[in-house]
């Protein structure tokens, strides 16, 4: 194992894949100087400006040209700078990239990775802080990855680059510097396989991305109160590891889902509905969601904090859930 940051792990993954496959290239604003968050630092020296390519501030062209370049046989890694800016290229991603293969009856594929740094980070306010992962899960044709650790960021990004599908790859800005152990060999992490962050018996907590760390802290606090929480990091939302969630809920009988994004229409709702459909009879208490209120993200830290779901809120909700029993089981 090697210790490295979430950002370094992604950089390593990209460099490894670019060395392996000359058709892999990265394109986005300010990549030459290392990217906005330094996640491309040093890559220009090794791969040159054609493969670590700067782009004009033209999100629609960055996305659309990458669709064409993918259809024409290369594997672009598209840097969107902030997930919020990808909204300038909605047609290119949703109408074009996601659907080209289907519309053309399988005549083409669109192997591209769309890196979208997401989430709340240092008072960035409403246009630089959003978590829109649930939008993408709604679109047939897209893969959605939401890594939370350095090891996952390396393993999932490598899988994303080798995928023939367009992959929306959401890295959380607040954990670029988060350090963790990364395997020394090139471990690829398959999509649709969750990671068991912590085993437990009393309640299943499902999370992803940076919120997973807040949930992990909550699980530790719960343990101190004598509540044994099982924490699942989904890692990808399409496809998502239904089986891991089902197995866990069958064991615990309780489910709490927590994500940084807005609760209404969030992916937590999909998980809750699926579990309610499949495992209604094993549930001991109502499924709980801990996610953001439906307000734009604020600038001032105390206002921003009102939107963030804290470990304490998760503890409170989990404690309440464990206290309730429907008597089904």
């Amino acid at each position: 194992m090697v210790k490295m940051s979430y950002a370094e792990a992604a950089k390593l993954a990209l460099a490894e894949e670019m060395r392996r496959d000359p058709l892999v290239w990265a394109i986005g604003e300010d990549l030459g100087r290392g990217g906005v968050f330094g996640q491309y630092l040093g890559l220009l020296d090794e791969f040159g400006p054609e493969r670590i390519s700067d782009a004009p501030i033209s999100e629609s062209a960055i996305m659309g040209a990458s669709v064409g370049a993918a259809m024409a046989g290369t594997r672009p890694v598209v840097e969107m700078r902030f997930a919020d800016f990808a909204l300038c290229a909605v047609d290119e991603l949703i109408n074009q990239a996601a659907k080209a293969r289907y519309m053309l009856g399988g005549q083409v594929k669109v192997p591209m990775v769309i890196r979208e740094p997401m989430g709340m980070w240092r008072s960035s306010a409403a246009q630089h802080s959003q978590s829109l992962e649930s939008w993408y899960t709604h679109i047939p044709g897209l893969v959605v990855a939401v890594p939370s650790t350095p090891a996952d960021n390396r393993g999932l990004l490598k899988t994303a680059i080798r995928s023939d599908d367009p992959v929306v790859y959401l890295e959380h800005k607040n954990i670029w510097g988060y350090e963790g152990d990364v395997p020394e060999d090139e471990t690829l992490i398959p999509f649709g396989k969750g990671r068991l962050e912590k085993e437990g018996d009393d309640i299943t907590i499902v999370s992803w991305s940076a919120q997973m760390h807040i949930a992990a802290n909550a699980a530790t606090l719960l343990q101190a109160e004598g509540i044994s929480a099982e924490l699942i990091d989904l890692r990808t939302l399409w496809p998502w590891d239904r089986q891991m969630v089902f197995d866990s809920v069958e064991k615990t009988g309780r489910l709490l889902i927590t994500h940084e994004s807005v609760s209404v229409g969030g992916f937590g709702a999909e998980i809750a509905a699926t579990v309610a459909e499949q495992l209604f009879s094993v549930l001991k208490s109502p499924i709980t969601r801990c996610a953001a209120p439906r307000v734009p993200i604020s600038y001032a830290p105390p206002l921003e904090a009102k939107i963030r779901v804290s470990s304490e809120q998760i503890v409170e909700a989990a404690t309440k859930s464990v206290a309730v029993s429907t008597g089904f089981k």
Partner: protein, 333 residues
């Protein structure tokens, strides 16, 4: 291999154009009839009156060159070398359709001849064609990319972003604007500030010109010249062809928003008749030229008959070609 016409005009070359233009016209007329027969399932947009651009441009492309087109793309697709039977099957949504019945008219494509798709979103293919050219450059290949779009597309953002991009990266791409006068059912002039596609392209440092798109000689010559420049590494070029959409926006649009006299005058500039006139002046008999239309109509009649008799695609097609990962049926009824 492409045989360019010589100084004195290569009759055979233009006879081939004449045949292709008639095939496009016959395909469109047959599609219009299929639409009246209520066998075409969605909207279709006919290119009647614009055949010289399709034939003139595509004949100068190699099979390996990429072509991206518009919602009005039947003619371009046919001229790039697609099979009209598979195209008609697609328009009718039948088994054997070129996109397996999943795309219809607005997503018609034939990747085997480099035709990477029409598009239902105006201007969307400008960026995609630019990206295909970017891939060509990265792979050090010698083919080029060509994007045909309508005059309405120049008022969408991808026109600016894609053209700028193609210039910044000096990409092998030919932009072709078919200025048929109408953006959907509104006159383009009324909704366009400034001098249009070529002037806008030049403002971004892209070589561009405006040409009579109903004159097959002009279309052929300018396309050949620009493509040679592009293949020589001279970056993107744009041609704006002036033409006229002789039918409505869709096959069901009577186009009553324009005076009959205007359309009547426009028919006098019919590109096929102008090509026939040219060839007859070069000594080709009218009998032979008329035969081209007859043969084309017979071909498309056969194609239509086959399509009408074909079964629907099998149901499993609804769930294939979505993506490699995940079950598309998950969570559904």
């Amino acid at each position: 291999m492409i045989q360019p016409p010589n100084q004195n005009i290569d009759k055979d070359w233009f006879l081939e154009h004449h045949i292709m233009m008639h095939r496009i016209r016959a395909f469109e007329e047959t599609a219009a009839r299929a639409n009246q027969d209520k066998l075409v399932l969605g909207a279709i947009h006919l290119s009647i009156g614009q055949e010289a651009i399709a034939s003139g441009v595509c004949k100068n492309l190699m099979k390996e060159d990429f072509l991206l087109s518009t919602h009005r793309g039947h003619g371009h697709t046919l001229a790039k070398g697609a099979d009209p039977e598979a195209m008609m099957l697609e328009l009718l949504g039948r088994r054997g359709g070129i996109c397996k019945g999943k795309g219809g008219s607005m997503h018609i494509a034939d990747a085997s001849v480099g035709m990477l798709g029409a598009n239902g979103v105006v201007a969307a293919n400008i960026n995609i064609a630019t990206g295909a050219a970017h891939a060509i450059k990265l792979k050090r290949e010698t083919n080029i990319s060509c994007c045909i779009f309508g005059d309405g597309a120049i008022n969408r953002g991808p026109f600016l972003e894609g053209l700028n991009w193609s210039g910044v990266f000096n990409l092998p791409v030919l932009f072709v604007c078919e200025n048929n006068g109408f953006a959907s059912t509104t006159r383009t002039d009324a909704m366009t500030s400034g001098e249009g596609a070529a002037a806008r392209a030049r403002s971004m440092g892209i070589t561009a010109t405006e040409v009579d798109g109903n004159d097959i000689i002009s279309v052929d010559e300018i396309t050949r010249e620009y493509i040679a420049n592009i293949r020589n590494g001279n970056g993107p070029h744009l041609i704006s062809f002036n033409t006229y959409r002789l039918h409505g926006h869709t096959a069901s649009d009577p186009a009553s928003y324009r005076p009959a006299a205007e359309v009547e005058t426009a028919w006098k500039e019919d590109p096929i008749e102008r090509c026939s006139e040219l060839l007859s002046r070069l000594g080709i008999s009218r009998k032979i030229l008329n035969e081209h239309r007859k043969i084309a109509l017979e071909e498309m009649e056969r194609v239509y008959k086959t399509a009408k008799e074909a079964p629907w695609p099998s149901d499993d097609n609804a769930f294939s070609d979505v993506q490699d990962l995940g079950d598309p049926r998950e969570g559904a009824f």
